[in-house]
Symmetry: C2
Subunit: 426 residues, 2 copies
């Protein structure tokens, strides 16, 4: 059942697509897509035979037969699970075995499967910080899963988590999952410190809440010390790790997935049962993930000796450059500005956020696109409860480097004009 919030979130996403369509020459700082310059699909397709050869050996058949079996239906939970496990260990410090991985048609499917499996009864809810990723709120809303927002800053988050969980208990509800992007959050770009991660893990273990740790941007750290994923810090079986190849390779492969821990709060049978349930649900949603696409990922992983570091390095450099260009442009444009204009300096990822001294919503996007030919993303679009009305998300991942300064300058003109109008109105 679509809740009202769900319907309106869909409406704003459609609205943004329409704005982009209506003003095709506007500079978009709204799209958090990966940069297309690094998509090397033709080359990656050539890696498929490598994986085919590997399969032929594994199955003891000819390469041609392996190719035909590859083209058939296949194992619901995936074919390349062991290669993925090895890559997650090398690149992300996530230790698991293939049989605890469910490969999805993109990470979104894995996230949907997790939410549907964990929150089955109407009183089973998912927790999330407000604002949070639209893909999570969308799937929860569409399936009538209640999302309970958390508002505390990082240092108060564990306390809020405990008190919200207890309040829910008193209401006859049960917090089953806590959705988080601890590393370069979408939409905020923020990173949770190791201390906060530990605090959250303690509460989750105590309250038996499964963290859904989504980590699409983990390989894109530009500076600062790496913080281990919550999955790697976890000692009690309270983290499901969500991964994707949409950012490291490209979205069109539509391969991502979920890593279920060895135990759920110490219970190995419960972990196996969850893997099985994810697979059963998947078998009736998409049957199995395209083995052609899995073979492409498998071939690339074989060709790259199991790690994506070599492929990611130039991308990381590019995104770092874009971030720096955006930070420099923001400093040049707004450095002398008065109160109310602030932005963060993300150590990685695709986005930063900016606070403005006025409300920036749907009407302002339209005005900005029409009059200044630049499209930012209101942060309120990601809000669970209508907060963040005066903030925007600026994505630097998919905007041409040469347009960043101009985009920020146009935004500056809009903001200046808007403030003047506001002042004049007073």
């Amino acid at each position: 059942m679509t809740t009202q919030a769900g319907a309106s979130r869909l409406a704003v996403m459609n609205f943004l697509n329409e704005v982009a369509g209506d003003f095709p020459n506007a500079i978009s700082l709204a799209s958090g897509r990966p940069a297309e310059a690094f998509f090397d699909l033709d080359h990656w397709l050539e890696a498929i035979p490598l994986y085919q050869r590997e399969l032929a050996t594994r199955w003891g058949v000819t390469r041609a037969d392996a190719g035909r079996r590859l083209a058939q239906y296949g194992r619901t939970n995936g074919l390349i699970n062991e290669l993925v496990a090895a890559q997650l260990k090398l690149d992300e410090g996530v230790q698991t075995r293939g049989e605890h991985i469910v490969i999805g048609a993109g990470c979104q499917e894995a996230l949907a499967l997790c939410l549907l499996s964990l929150c089955r009864a109407p009183n089973e809810v998912v927790l999330a910080r407000d604002p949070t990723y639209i893909g999570m709120t969308g799937v929860a809303d569409l399936h009538g899963i209640e999302i309970v927002p958390l508002y505390a800053k990082d240092d108060g988050l564990a306390d809020e988590l405990r008190s919200v969980t207890e309040r829910l208990g008193n209401e006859g509800k049960r917090a089953r999952a806590f959705y988080l992007i601890p590393e370069f959050d979408n939409p905020t770009g923020a990173v949770l410190s190791q201390l906060v991660r530990q605090e959250l893990l303690d509460v989750c273990a105590e309250q038996r809440i499964l963290v859904l740790e989504d980590n699409p941007y983990g390989m894109f750290r530009y500076e600062g010390e790496r913080v281990p994923p919550m999955y790697a810090l976890d000692r009690s079986g309270s983290v499901i790790y969500l991964f994707t190849y949409s950012k490291t390779l490209c979205p069109a492969v539509r391969i991502g997935g979920a890593v279920v821990p060895d135990t759920l709060f110490g219970d190995a049978a419960a972990a196996r049962a969850l893997v099985a349930e994810l697979g059963e649900r998947k078998s009736f949603l998409t049957v199995n993930t395209s083995q052609l696409n899995q073979a492409l990922i498998g071939g690339v992983l074989l060709a790259e000796n199991g790690t994506l570091q070599r492929l990611v390095t130039p991308q990381r450099d590019h995104y770092r450059k874009n971030r720096d260009l955006m930070l420099a442009a923001l400093a040049a444009e707004f450095g002398g500005s008065g109160e109310g204009i602030r932005w963060n300096r993300p150590e990685g990822g695709f986005f930063l956020t900016m606070d403005l001294p006025f409300r920036f919503g749907q009407e302002e996007v339209l005005q900005c696109a029409r009059e200044r030919h630049v499209i930012p993303m209101p942060l309120s679009f990601f809000s669970l409860s209508g907060i963040c009305q005066e903030s925007i998300r600026l994505a630097f991942s998919n905007v041409p480097s040469a347009q960043i300064a101009e985009g920020v300058a146009r935004l500056g003109q809009f903001i200046l004009q808007y403030e003047e109008v506001c002042h004049a109105a007073i």
Copy 2:
């Protein structure tokens, strides 16, 4: 929420997989997969550049840029919709436009999206003949959608449809959809006559029930006159047509979809709203269908001048041969048998069904696999209410031609022995 029936259906499917795994040398007459000999993935991959070139022209960009945009996220409802529309018209007599098509990660996703969109309230139910396809019952069960079975033979089906719909109305329920495979049904292999299709369409238009017409086997007719799809016969906007490339090309492409009619019962806005809702749900389940896989289908369709007839012809010949081998083996084995042993002669598709003079369930499958090294599929596995206890489905699509006679002979030995034991016990 998983209903009891849903859980047990999952259990039997797992059981069948286990039997196949435990007895790898048994001849399987249970698998209704397409024959792998025709999977030509390496060759089809070479068609991708054709589609890339087409995109480059459409978008006015270089071929390399088109390739990069192809590798990006894309339109939720699909990229190759116009090519699919042209193919459906040529090959299946289904007239539509690209914007009324939703491309899914396999037909199963499209079916799930349709059921979730149509049956949102607890009193909105889906109708299906008993027995029916497990992919439909599985997704309905997993999402708490009630399935109401119909039992009548073809000539009484429209009457039963009307009376069941009226009974449901009295119970405060509403039949929103009627799932059907009118052409070479899975599991029965049966075809609905044009007269029955018309009768059903009349009742559906009158009662405002949307037919979900699933047609995976339509291009595999071996003899007899072609019956138009219900979608083509429909005049009132009461049929959603489900298509797949898993059988005509191969399952690993995971491309299928739904065609929404121009109007829903005369209401064009309602049809557009349904297309939009399918897309919104899809965006939160799988984001969009792999554009790599869509490009492969697109390229093949371009290379084949928009029709799959040339590719399907040798497959159809092969399946016809297998069906004939199975019919001949059955006649040789059971032709002189007494009462209680009967089978149908399907005019196309992948399966036939056989009635036995005794119950054939899970225990009998195991015994058959262990003692006679052949695995048939109990028809009761497809039942919504535990009927068809004495029938089996025999698939001839994916068994090597050379094994068919031997498989049927082994089945004959099992049946003979089983009957003797039964008689001795009396």
